[in-house]
């Protein structure tokens, strides 16, 4: 019985993440269009795209690794979702929150991109591999300030678990974004790279690489990748809300908080041109790294 509620809760979580992630994607397209002085697609355009892809039949494949690529990607986003407390009190989403910690999460998050990179590699399209190398290089860039922010939180509150950090915020009554501001700044700067909007969108490079890693994929493959991307966006936003903004008691607050934090990379991206890969890496090892070091110093003093 307990197992059944767990499984049902997990499915509910995945559906929630899918719906929210997809809607956010659509809203972003709309906002981008408005900034560009276009009308833009409706907010539910992403659903239409996704279900159109799902309905298409696939004619060709390049081998088993390509087929496994999307599945690997899904594993990463769904399993990380299982480890992130969606609401502070658990509620309908009693997942595996207590079974893993932040460092585990960091490593699980790269599981998917690496598996997907392998799938992309088997298609033989050079653009896929170029996109992957850019993506991995950029990841090395933003992971450093991101990890610094996390380590700063860990040493400040003597815990490495997400639930522990949420409890610490509930007890003190202040959000971590105020009690450890430098960590928050470093984490937000790292987030710019994590979401791959401009100026860090050279990975997909929509105009010249034909979407980078996902080129050569269509139909159900692309549908799976797209939904995985949406779920993963939700995962990352919820993680930020959980560790920096005290989590959320109910869905409305969760949506408010995640959306407001989502606007940071989106709005920054709309008005930015694109960095080359090495420029992106150097960007992350500049100010974000500086704030990361500040966060570490701040956390070890207080």
């Amino acid at each position: 019985m307990e197992l059944l509620t767990h499984i049902l809760g997990a499915i509910a979580t995945v559906i929630l993440a899918f719906v929210v992630g997809m809607s956010y994607g659509g809203i972003v397209r709309k906002i981008t269009a408005r900034v560009h002085n276009r009308i833009g697609p409706p907010w539910y355009q992403n659903f239409i795209d996704a279900f159109k892809l799902y309905g298409k039949t696939t004619a060709i494949h390049h081998g088993w690794m390509q087929i496994m690529g999307p599945a690997f990607l899904m594993v990463s986003s769904v399993v990380t979702l299982m480890f992130i407390p969606v609401l502070t009190n658990g509620g309908w989403f009693p997942n595996l929150n207590f079974e893993g910690d932040l460092i585990f999460l960091l490593y699980l998050m790269v599981f998917g991109p690496l598996g997907m990179a392998l799938g992309a590699g088997q298609t033989g399209n050079p653009n896929s591999a170029i996109g992957v190398t850019r993506g991995l290089s950029q990841m090395v860039g933003f992971e450093i300030p991101w990890v610094m922010a996390l380590v700063a939180l860990m040493i400040q509150f003597d815990t490495t678990s997400i639930t522990g950090l949420m409890e610490a915020q509930a007890q003190s009554g202040t959000w971590n974004m105020f009690s450890s501001p430098f960590a928050f700044i470093a984490a937000v700067l790292a987030m710019l790279g994590m979401f791959r909007y401009s100026p860090f969108d050279i990975v997909g490079a929509p105009t010249e690489l034909a979407s980078g890693p996902v080129s050569e994929n269509g139909g159900k493959y692309l549908f799976t990748m797209m939904s995985s991307g949406s779920i993963f966006a939700f995962v990352k936003l919820t993680l930020y809300v959980d560790i920096f903004m005290g989590g959320a008691d109910n869905l409305v607050i969760l949506l408010l908080k995640t959306f407001s934090i989502y606007m940071i990379p989106v709005l920054y991206g709309i008005v930015s041109p694109r960095y080359r890969t090495e420029q992106a890496i150097r960007f992350f090892w500049g100010w974000p790294l500086f704030f990361g070091v500040l966060a570490l110093i701040y956390a070890s003093i207080f």
Partner: protein
């Protein structure tokens, strides 16, 4: 007869027998070789108990052999890897020349490593250490290529390490009058401070060379890539761990006893961190798989050194667990490279691509080992990484944890390069003839890959003996505090429960795999990697679109400042300077009788001039 003697007699006899049989009959030689590896391994695990010792004296020295709990962990690595790589070697080296010599050297290496673990006194320790160095040196120059460059480098560094160790041993003997390791440990707190510092430093130079610690690592990339791959699996997987074995004993048993030991350990930990970063960056820059794995080994040993240097119970667990894991996955990867070299004749990423459909089992083994190397759950590499980070965060090494994390994130780059370079990308007609490696090569790889999978879910299997070994070194038991059979804890009680994670991962993977494949697979047909649309154009059959040159160029451009400083030119400069001095000395000895006569006269004149000062006349 004592079982311990018997094991070494079998090793020695087997080494001689394989060498001699190598000249007579190939099959007999192979069988003897495998028997010499497997029989002592079986005897060791069934007949030798921990704590059992044998004493004997040789030319007035009292020597003692016996295995300890701590040595037992490393015996797993040495014998396990030794036997599996031995089976692999028989198939991999088939058709090569001078095989009797190769096999007997292989056996001698395994014997020497077991001897090091058995030695309870410094004399036999040193003797076995030298046997190990010599047999590995002969393997490095086995191919006969670049002996001057690579072989000499390894030899000089090993010699420096050995002399440092010898000095430490002699100093110990003059101070304590005993050659026993235990008596060194008990007498150590009574030494004066300079001796307390000198002995560990000298020993650590010796061990640091073998474990490729910065700045003593420069031999590693060449030597690992020049030895035959069947041996490199052991060389990098097990032989380098002997350095770690010694290092742990020195740091835990000796350095911890001095009050200032704290700083000493910090230095070691940071050297380990720098080793990890340097090794990783250079690995990313390599286009040759052997070189890539060699630098990666340097980096992985760096993590282990970090753990040893930090030295909290959790860090030690991490270091030892990573030592076992490194033996497993790096052994597999070197074997995979060996298999590819045997089937294609090259190990360069820019030459060979698209092997996934031709060598699927090798790919599977490589994939699992790479996932373990990258530290991604649910494979075993993750356990070691997790414990290392938790121990670093928990013991206030905030900057070091960032350094280590940077290195292990950058490791994803070369992980992908390895898999993509060999197995993925465009399939070229040039490699259409390639077949999967023989079963005797594939089976050991698969066994080891499965091993790293099992340890990823049930780390307790190997943490149990590690715990016993650490208790022998004076640590409190950590079971239940930091780990259970398939659970991990950190200092603050946060945990990772591995089994539900594994089940969730499998369930989600299977679901989406079926989701993508169901109703879909029958309708789809396989098309070759030439049948793609790149930028709206379909490439022609002869067009080679493989992306393998300058693979991580943007990243390397970004980290250029970090890679500008190399230690190798410094050594070369030092070598040149020494050569200049030697050259000058050589010029004195001109070989001309008249010059020597001149020297004699000058000497007599100088004596006359300074006779008052010299003789007080």
């Amino acid at each position: 007869m004592e079982m311990i003697y018997l094991i070494f007699i079998i090793f020695l006899g087997g080494a001689v027998a394989t060498y001699l049989l190598g000249k007579i009959n190939g099959v007999l030689r192979d069988i003897t070789f495998l028997a010499t590896l497997i029989v002592p391994a079986v005897l060791f695990y069934t007949q030798v108990s921990i704590g059992q010792t044998v004493d004997f004296s040789m030319s007035g020295m009292n020597l003692q052999w016996g295995i300890t709990d701590f040595g037992y962990i490393f015996a797993y690595i040495v014998l396990g890897l030794g036997v599996l790589a031995g089976i692999y070697a028989v198939a991999a080296m088939k058709g090569k020349e001078n095989l009797g010599f190769f096999y007997s050297n292989y056996i001698l290496s395994i014997m020497a490593m077991m001897g090091i673990l058995f030695s309870r006194d410094l004399v036999s320790f040193f003797i076995f250490w030298e046997i190990m160095t010599w047999s590995s040196y002969l393997m490095v120059v086995f191919s006969g290529k670049d002996v001057q460059k690579v072989g000499i480098k390894y030899f000089i560094f090993s010699a420096v390490g050995a002399y440092a160790m010898l000095m430490a041993i002699v100093t110990t003997y003059s101070l304590t009058g005993s050659m026993m390791i235990d008596s060194l440990v008990t007498a150590y707190p009574g030494f004066d401070f300079s001796m307390q510092l000198l002995i560990p430093i000298l020993l650590l130079i010796g061990f640091g060379v073998k474990s490729a610690m910065m700045p003593l690592h420069v031999w590693a990339s060449g030597s690992y890539s020049h030895a035959p791959m069947a041996y490199t699996a052991v060389f990098s997987g097990a032989l380098s761990k002997m350095g770690i074995y010694g290092m742990i004993i020195v740091i835990v048993s000796l350095v911890s006893q001095i009050p200032e030991g704290h700083w000493f350990r910090e230095v070691i930990a940071w050297l380990g961190g720098i080793t990890a970063v340097g090794g990783t960056l250079w690995a990313v820059a390599q286009d040759d798989a052997k070189k890539l794995l060699a630098y990666s080994s340097v980096a992985q040993l760096g993590y282990i050194i970090v753990g040893v240097g930090v030295g909290t119970p959790l860090a030690m667990l991490a270091a030892l667990f990573m030592a076992v894991m490194h033996g497993l996955f790096k052994g597999t990867l070197f074997m995979a490279v060996g298999a590819i070299e045997k089937q294609t004749g090259t190990t360069n990423f820019t030459e060979v691509t698209g092997l996934i459909r031709k060598m699927p089992l090798t790919f599977l083994a490589s994939l699992m080992s790479i996932i373990a190397l990258a530290g991604i759950p649910p494979l075993g590499g993750f356990i070691g990484k997790w414990m290392l980070y938790e121990s670093l965060v928990g013991s206030d090494h905030y900057m070091l944890v960032i350094v280590v994390f940077f290195s292990s994130t950058a490791a994803f780059l070369y992980c992908y390069k390895f898999l993509f370079g060999f197995f993925l990308g465009q399939e070229e007609p040039e490699w259409a003839h390639v077949k999967e490696a023989p079963a005797m090569m594939v089976v050991p790889m698969i066994i080891m890959a499965i091993g790293s999978f099992i340890l990823g879910v049930f780390p307790g299997l190997i943490l149990n003996p590690i715990d016993a070994g650490l208790q022998e070194l004076g640590y409190a038991s950590t079971q239940g505090r930091y780990w259970e059979m398939s659970m991990l804890f950190n200092e603050w009680g946060d945990k990772v429960v591995l089994q539900p994670i594994l089940y969730t991962i499998i369930a989600v993977f299977v679901f989406f795999f079926v989701f993508v494949v169901a109703k879909n697979f029958k309708k789809t047909r396989y098309v070759s990697t030439k049948d793609i649309s790149s930028s709206g154009e379909i490439p022609k059959a002869h067009e080679n679109l493989t992306f393998s040159r300058g693979f991580f160029q943007p990243f390397l451009r970004a980290v250029e400042p970090l890679m500008k400083h190399q230690i190798d030119p410094l050594y070369t400069g030092f070598g040149r300077g020494m050569e200049a001095i030697f050259d000058f000395v050589r010029r004195i000895y001109t070989g001309n009788g008249q010059t020597y006569a001149l020297y004699a006269i000058i000497f007599a004149v100088l004596l006359l001039i300074f006779k008052n000062q010299l003789f007080g006349l």
